[in-house]
């Protein structure tokens, strides 16, 4: 069985060297269809994505807002499955050996696939980490521990409701990086206040040496800059996914400009994030 990679570690080490925050871009695997999705993912690193967070489509994404749920349903409608998601990663890995890919989703498709088989196939495909929203520390035996044992980082979400008492257990079996959800809510909703995020990130740093990525509700370069000043990475998802939705025709087929539009948006955000801390160093 292949072991986990050190791509996440290397990427954050490189970011530290550059003195800047990373940019995590979320897209759903197979949205709007397998081929468009592949072209998009393959082009994301050149557009400035440091890490790709790839959604595993699920019919009932309870912690996600309408944008990500719709993207899941588009992908499923066009025949996406977990098996095909792993194949998509394997295809991406043929030409990109350095950009970390983190899979994000819900437990049922993985449980249905079989936990052992899934970990084996994800590692073989070149997956670098897992985010499974409905597996809190209380359910670590299900996937988190077996994945960690196999060398596949299980990336945990910490939220504003994660109190001092819980934080140690949330941080305990986390690897790769820690994902701070900046609002109590669903993806694509309101965004957190910069001051609150600053305090929260400081609180997390007392408990973990891991890099901290912050997401939920980031839609503009200005917001991304705020995050990039305090966190090790900023995650943008719903805004990207919305752009995919906006560039489909009535039949759900992608328009000719879809990929360009999404990549332009990603480039703009990436540029802003890269410049975010330059002012501070002067």
């Amino acid at each position: 069985m292949s072991r986990g990679s050190d791509r996440i570690e290397k990427r954050f080490a490189a970011l530290r060297q550059e003195g800047r925050a990373g940019f995590v871009v979320f897209v759903t695997a197979g949205d709007p269809d397998r081929d468009t999705s592949y072209r998009l993912i393959a082009a994301l690193p050149a557009a400035g994505a440091d890490i790709i967070e790839l959604g595993m489509p699920f019919t009932d994404p309870m912690a996600d807002g309408p944008a990500i749920q719709a993207s899941s349903l588009r992908a499923l409608k066009n025949g996406m499955t977990l098996k095909k998601t792993l194949a998509l990663v394997a295809d991406f890995r043929k030409s990109d050996h350095t950009t970390p890919i983190v899979l994000m989703g819900y437990f049922n498709p993985i449980y249905s696939y079989g936990v052992t088989a899934f970990i084996r196939d994800a590692l073989a495909a070149g997956v670098d980490g897992l985010i499974v929203v409905d597996l809190p520390p209380e359910e670590d035996d299900e996937l988190c521990r077996p994945a960690l044992d196999a060398g596949l980082p299980f990336i945990r979400l910490a939220t504003p409701t994660t109190d001092e008492e819980r934080l140690p257990s949330v941080v305990k079996n986390t690897a790769g990086f820690l994902y701070y959800v900046s609002v109590t809510g669903i993806t694509g909703g309101k965004s957190g206040a910069a001051a609150d995020i600053r305090t929260a990130v400081a609180r997390l740093r007392e408990q973990t040496e891991l890099p901290i990525a912050v997401g939920f509700g980031i839609k503009t370069p200005e917001q991304a800059v705020e995050i990039a000043k305090v966190a090790d990475a900023a995650v943008v998802g719903s805004a990207v996914v919305n752009l995919i939705a906006d560039n489909l025709d009535d039949g759900g087929k992608p328009s000719a400009v879809l990929t360009d539009k999404v990549l332009d948006f990603v480039s703009n955000l990436a540029e802003a994030i890269r410049a975010a801390r330059s002012g501070e160093r002067e």
Partner: protein, 403 residues
């Protein structure tokens, strides 16, 4: 796990019934779920909480509900002696009020000031809107847009009770999607909101909590049949969607091994078609809405749409304790089709002068199948858990009658 000494010891500390149950929720909700568990543990130990619950059940709901000997139906079927546990006579017309009261009292204890709920047929939504009005708390009910169409009277009822009824258009626009939306609302309003779940599903402690509140049905039935017949019943029958009325009737009898327990799932157009809501007959274990349980799903683990003529049974899962009771063989899970439920509905109206809800009409369909094969001294109790007034439009439509 086979042949445990008692079937009444679950769940364990992790909220598991065997491999089923658990707490599969996002981190944002986890502290809240733990807080509900702690508050419920304290409430259970507090005699004042129990006293208030009992008092409201007696004077507000109208409990105990009668155990009624269905004499003409018994004569018609020429077999087992059939009793109805008449929870359709409760205030609001179904058993859902039992757990709505238990949960809103807990919300009060926790200092929560806003109530949310999901609803399928609208019975749980009506029950929740009712107790929210009774306690003066604002209430939002999430309901599938499709269910709102087929249960228009209940939608209006909820609005009269002051609830904000939010149509859910995502997914299949039925109960599972309403539950997704309710969970999303809860995640976004964790500080002030209490989620009153409408069945024995969801993350621990909900399956246990709702079961405890509904167990009043079985406790009463036990006393009532002892009084009427001087012995325990031979068979209990209940319909099952999520399974709150079934577990409520069964739970106090789980360790009486001579009492046969039968739960009836909704077979829709038939188990061999894709259009049914029978999670045990047509599903396999998976994880959804906070717990591991039997689910209708495809090979990829994607949740499938359920179908039943009864909106209250139209859910692709089942409470985790039922999955466990199935796995250990204590309860027998069977099913009835839309057609069989409709026939039972009409028979009950004609013979007993009772319009049953389409949900317990499924249980009645099973009674119609098995009663004739039983001897005359065979005591059978069926949970008549809801009244059918809300369903007359659906029934009229199915029978091709224009109102």
């Amino acid at each position: 796990m086979n042949n445990p000494n008692s079937y009444r010891t679950g769940p364990d500390e992790e909220g598991r019934f065997g491999i089923f149950g658990g707490r599969f929720v996002a981190e944002t909700l986890m502290p809240l779920v733990l807080a509900v568990e702690k508050a419920y543990g304290e409430a259970k130990a507090d005699p004042a909480y129990r006293a208030e619950f009992d008092d409201l059940l007696e004077h507000y709901v109208g409990r105990p509900s009668p155990l009624y000997y269905a004499e003409r139906l018994t004569g018609h079927l020429k077999g087992a002696k059939i009793y109805f546990k008449r929870d359709e006579l409760n205030h609001t017309g179904a058993h859902k009020i039992n757990h709505a009261i238990g949960q809103i009292l807990l919300a009060n204890r926790m200092g929560k000031t806003r109530i949310i709920a999901e609803t399928g047929a609208g019975q749980h939504g009506v029950a929740t809107a009712t107790v929210a009005a009774r306690f003066g708390l604002p209430c939002t009910v999430f309901m599938g847009a499709r269910d709102m169409e087929r249960q228009a009277p209940n939608v209006f009822r909820m609005k009269l009770l002051g609830a904000d009824v939010r149509p859910v258009t995502s997914g299949s626009a039925t109960l599972k999607d309403a539950m997704n939306e309710a969970l999303r609302d809860w995640v976004s309003n964790v500080e002030d909101t209490f989620y009153i779940i409408g069945t024995v599903a969801g993350p621990h402690p909900y399956p246990q909590m709702v079961r405890d509140f509904q167990s009043v049905i079985g406790q009463e039935a036990r006393e009532q049949i002892m009084k009427a017949e001087g012995r325990l019943p031979d068979t209990l029958v209940a319909c099952i969607g999520g399974g709150s009325n079934a577990i409520g009737l069964f739970y106090p009898f789980l360790d009486d091994k001579n009492v046969e327990l039968i739960a009836v799932e909704a077979a829709g157009h038939g188990i061999d078609t894709k259009a049914h809501a029978a999670s045990i007959a047509g599903g396999r274990p998976g994880v959804l809405h906070g717990n591991r349980t039997y689910l209708l799903q495809d090979e990829d683990g994607q949740i499938q749409e359920a179908h039943s003529i009864s909106a209250g049974l139209d859910y692709p899962g089942i409470g985790p304790e039922h999955s466990w009771l199935h796995s250990v063989g204590r309860v027998h899970y069977t099913s009835a089709t839309d057609r069989e439920a409709l026939d039972a509905f009409q028979l009950c109206a004609e013979l007993e002068g009772i319009l049953p809800a389409l949900e317990p009409s499924h249980a009645l369909a099973e009674v119609i199948k098995i009663a004739p094969q039983k001897p005359k001294d065979h005591l059978l109790i069926m949970n008549l858990c809801g009244r059918g007034d809300k369903d007359i439009f659906t029934v009229a439509d199915a029978l091709g009658v224009e109102l």
